[in-house]
Every structure is written in structure tokens, then in C-alpha cells.
């Protein structure tokens, strides 16, 4: 789908701009359904939306789909894909794309996103988000792959900035420029993972605040907040993006800094490892809500339009 057509779509995201979501986990199916379906939910007790990894719902049927169907009747659902491998030199995984398309037809998610990364080769599948160099060649390839996905799904997608542990020696541009050009040429938008900003900046020696300040808020359609692990080394700390802990103070501060400039955006609390009780996730979500309310008081409101 040409970028011009996407720009003309005037597509309004179904996620509330000040909405805070959580990742939907099987162990929370019951309590989530109960909270989002309550006729008068207690304040701060339920998420505004839920996000899932669509690959977990590629099964043909069964309990996961029954839960997701029931929950989706009461709250918007977002798909955060991890398997398209858009950066693979051989091209994206077409089988995954077809399954994702079928799932989108079934659930009509409010947003669909994937990652600025690759995770498979011609022979092997790597369950990780591996880095690609920020070069014109890689950009042209990624623009093409994003276009194929958007054409197939009939919608704009969001691309998430990665957590980086490695920097290629011969890059032609920085990550922000790469993402901005990707948006300009493909019509996609950015899923800004602020924990990933802290992780990448720490690991590669960048200034995290400068990095956050460089992102164009108009291109950001969603924000992720997550925790990380820290490994102290003789040559400096190494942060590992394991989504296994509360959001760090640095990430909260970067989040506040960004939304003070950008205004409210849909925010997701990501916690995928050692998943805690639902109440803990909601505490994180309510902290995000408090930050959004502060930002809303201090900036002009911004509609979360998914328009370039």
C-alpha cells in the first residue's frame, strides 16, 4: 500500500491516547476478563487495553482463543508480533505473515506492531530480536518488507526500536534517523520502547536523554515500558532486556520527559518473564497513568492518530 494511500486513510487508532494497557498472560485471563467486563470497574483496577504476542494464538483453537475472544469483547486488543523477521536478508517469514493476517481478520486488533530486527535465516529460526545495521541498503530492504506487511494486512503497522547490545562498525546513520526515514518511506509508525532506549544507551554509551529527545512525537503511535536485568562488569554495566522486573527509575524519567513534549500516547506495561500477580502489573499501569495525567495537565492534548 503506497505511503500516500496510508496518509490519506485518516485512520484513527482505536486505543485511547491516555490509555494504559498490560500484556495479557494466560495466568491472568480470569481476573482480566472479570475486570474489563465489570459494569462499574473500580478506579485503577483494570487496563484500558491488552496486548498479546499473536504467535501465541497461532493455534487453531482451544482455551487461548476462547479467552481472547471473550476479553476482546470488552477491551481493545493490540498485536505485538515477534516472528515476522522483517530484517531477514531472505525477506520476511511469509508463513508467519499469513497466520498473522488470518488472526487480524478474526480479532481486528487496534494496533499491529513488530520489531526493527531479524530472527530467522534461510535455515534457522532464532527466538530473539537480532540487530541489523543502520545503512541505506538495510533501510531500503526494511521499507520494502514493511510495505509487504502493510499491503497484506491492509493497515499501517508500528515498528519498535530495539534493545541493542552490539553496534555495527560501519553504520551510515543513527537509529532515530533510520526509524524516521522508515516511517517517511513506508508510512509505518514507531512503537517507542523507552526501556529499550535505556538499555541501548547504557550498553553502547549513548546519551539516553538526547536519544529520547530526537524522536519525532508525531511518528510515535504507542509506548512500551518494561524492566531489565543489570549485570555489573569491569568495563561498565550491561543491561539485559528481559522484561522481568518493574520499570526502572531511569525509564520512568525518560517516559516523563518524552510525554512532557509529546503529550499522552497509548502506553503498555510489558512484563514477560517471572510474570507477577495482576495487582503488580496494575500498580505499574497506574504509575504510568499518573505520569500521563501530569503530562496532560502540562501539554496540549495530542490525538493518537496513526497518520504520517
Amino acid at each position: 500500500m503506497a505511503k500516500r494511500m496510508l496518509a490519506d486513510m485518516n485512520y484513527l487508532a482505536d486505543l485511547p491516547p491516555s490509555g494504559v494497557g498490560i500484556g495479557l498472560k494466560p495466568q491472568h485471563y480470569g481476573v482480566v476478563l472479570q475486570s474489563v467486563s465489570a459494569s462499574i470497574p473500580a478506579s485503577g483496577s483494570s487496563p484500558d487495553w491488552l496486548e498479546v504476542h499473536p504467535q501465541n494464538y497461532f493455534c487453531d483453537g482451544g482455551a487461548p482463543h476462547r479467552w481472547l475472544s471473550a476479553i476482546s469483547e470488552h477491551a481493545p486488543i493490540s498485536f505485538h508480533s515477534v516472528g515476522l523477521s522483517l530484517g531477514s536478508a531472505e525477506g520476511l517469514n511469509r508463513g508467519e505473515l499469513e497466520r498473522l493476517a488470518a488472526l487480524c481478520d478474526r480479532y481486528n486488533p487496534a494496533l499491529v506492531s513488530d520489531h526493527l530486527s531479524w530472527s530467522s535465516s534461510a535455515n534457522n529460526r532464532y527466538p530473539d530480536l537480532l540487530p541489523l545495521p543502520y545503512t541505506e541498503e538495510a533501510l531500503a530492504h526494511f521499507v520494502d518488507q514493511v510495505g509487504r506487511v502493510q499491503d497484506r494486512l491492509g493497515r499501517r503497522i508500528l515498528i519498535e526500536n530495539p534493545s541493542r547490545y552490539l553496534a555495527f562498525a560501519h553504520e551510515e546513520m543513527d537509529e532515530v534517523d533510520f526509524l524516521h526515514l522508515l516511517c517517511e518511506r513506508s508510512g509505518c509508525q514507531i512503537l517507542l520502547d523507552i526501556n529499550n532506549i535505556e538499555v541501548s544507551a547504557t550498553n553502547l554509551g549513548f546519551n539516553a536523554e538526547a536519544l529520547i529527545d530526537a524522536f519525532d512525537p508525531a511518528l510515535v503511535g504507542e509506548i512500551h515500558l518494561a524492566g531489565h536485568a543489570r549485570e555489573e562488569r569491569d568495563d561498565g554495566a550491561l543491561l539485559i532486556d528481559d522484561h522481568g522486573s518493574p520499570v526502572s527509575e531511569v525509564t520512568w524519567n525518560l517516559f516523563a520527559r518524552f510525554i512532557a513534549r509529546a503529550g499522552p500516547k497509548p502506553v503498555l506495561i510489558e512484563w514477560d518473564t517471572d510474570v507477577p500477580d495482576y495487582s503488580v502489573l496494575m500498580e505499574e499501569a497506574n504509575t504510568a497513568r499518573a505520569h500521563l495525567q501530569d503530562a496532560g495537565r502540562n501539554t496540549a492534548p495530542e490525538i493518537a492518530r496513526v497518520i504520517a
Binding site: G62, Y165, D235
Partner: protein
């Protein structure tokens, strides 16, 4: 980079990454550990009963051996364990767990199977007796048969009654949850025939073919069919 992830940092092309060698190695290790951990966890989650039987250390040892095989890492995580039962059967000290591994995999297949309405007895209530033999049935897509051995009996037996004579187990999922039931020889015979669409008349026919039910009591096939329908193991096939 792929070769370095698969086989170690000695394969890392010089000059590919920026920064000190120690940080490059540390970064590669994070990726390699993430990949390895995800694959191992996927196997643990696919084979919980085998994990309980072998214990974590032994299961981990065999999992790592399995993942060294190229074909194991060419598939998505959801199906990474597809060949694990067969792999275990080829290892002398782990072969005893292969049937239980196959059971775990069949359970997973049942759990993930399509949502299809299973046939219930009430569906047949209003049909004239002379028309019943023409009704076409087939296995429900979630239905699986598993041979029963001592390890499977130990893993699931406490949840089942009337297991003493069973040689096979039936896994069904007519609703949300997978159910496990012992099956009789007559039930198994019907299910084998119901792999493809077959009329009730054909399903109930007892023949002298190899694999048919020996010394079958006259009403055993009908009782078996009713039991299968009550279990949610069959679906009606309409033209």
C-alpha cells in the same frame, strides 16, 4: 553473525561490530543465551510430564542434545518439540521416556486443535433408527489415541478411574480443556476407522480383518460408539 551465534565467537567476522572485543563478546553472549533459553523453555513447556519424570538436570541434558540437531532449530518455537519423542527413543538411557513424551505431544496437539462442535447423543435423538447407519462421522480434530505404558499410567493414572485393563488412552477436547480417558479395544477400533469419514453402519461393523476386535461381545461396538460420543471424540460430517 549467524555462525557465531550457532557455533561460538571464533566465527565472528573481524571488524563487523564497533567497540572493545570484551563488549562485543558480552553482547553476543546475551543473544546466544536468549536464544538457548527460549528453546529450552519451549521444550520444558511442551513436555511437562517428561520433565517431572526425568528431573530438571536430566531433561535439560537431553534437551540440549536434541537442540544440537539442525532440524530442531529450523522450526518455530511452538513446534520445536515435534521430533523430541523420537529423539528420546534413540537414546538408550532415555528411551523409557519416549512414550510419555509422545503422550505430552499428543496432549499439546489436542489442546491446540481447531474448535469444532463435537457430536452429542442429543443430536441423534430425533433420527429414525433405520437412518442412523447412514449418518457419517469422523474423529473430532482434537481426538488423539496414545498407547499406555507404566510411566504414562504413573503420570495421569491417579486422575482416572477404571484404568486397570486399559492399553490405550483417549485424549479429547470437545470444550476448553483436554480430557484423558481409558479406551477399550472396541472404542479404539472405531476411532481407527473414523480417521476418515465413515458411516455409523461401517463404524459398528465387526470384521475378521487384522486389528478388528477379537471375541467381541454383540453389543460392544454400540457401547463403544456411545462412549466415544459421550466423550466428545467424534463429529458429524455433512455433505
Amino acid at each position: 553473525m549467524m555462525l557465531a551465534i550457532d557455533e561460538g565467537p571464533v566465527h565472528l567476522p573481524p571488524g563487523l561490530f564497533a567497540g572493545p572485543a570484551s563488549r562485543i563478546i558480552a553482547g553476543m553472549k546475551v543473544h546466544a543465551n536468549t536464544i538457548s533459553h527460549a528453546r529450552l523453555v519451549a521444550l520444558e513447556e511442551s513436555f511437562p510430564r517428561v520433565l517431572a519424570l526425568l528431573g530438571h538436570a536430566e531433561f535439560n541434558r537431553h534437551s540440549r542434545g536434541f537442540l544440537l540437531r539442525a532440524e530442531a532449530v529450523r522450526v518455530a518455537l511452538a513446534v520445536i518439540g515435534r521430533e523430541f519423542p523420537r529423539y528420546l527413543s534413540c537414546i538408550p538411557e532415555a528411551a523409557f521416556a519416549s512414550a510419555l513424551a509422545q503422550f505430552d505431544w499428543l496432549w499439546l496437539e489436542a489442546f491446540r486443535a481447531p474448535d469444532v462442535r463435537s457430536l452429542v447423543l442429543a443430536d441423534l435423538a430425533g433420527i429414525r433408527p433405520q437412518e442412523l447407519p447412514q449418518i457419517v462421522l469422523q474423529r473430532h480434530p482434537a481426538t488423539r489415541l496414545a498407547p499406555l505404558d507404566d510411566h504414562i499410567r504413573g503420570a495421569v493414572g491417579n486422575a482416572l478411574s477404571d484404568m486397570s485393563d486399559a492399553e490405550w488412552l483417549l485424549l479429547v477436547r470437545p470444550e476448553d480443556q483436554v480430557r484423558i480417558l481409558p479406551v477399550t479395544a472396541a472404542m479404539r477400533s472405531i476411532l481407527v476407522k473414523a480417521d476418515f469419514p465413515a458411516s455409523i453402519g461401517n463404524l459398528l461393523a465387526v470384521t475378521d480383518e487384522p486389528g478388528s476386535i477379537p471375541d467381541c461381545l454383540p453389543d460392544a461396538p454400540m457401547q463403544a460408539l456411545i462412549a466415544l460420543i459421550e466423550a466428545g471424540a467424534l463429529r458429524e460430517v455433512r455433505e
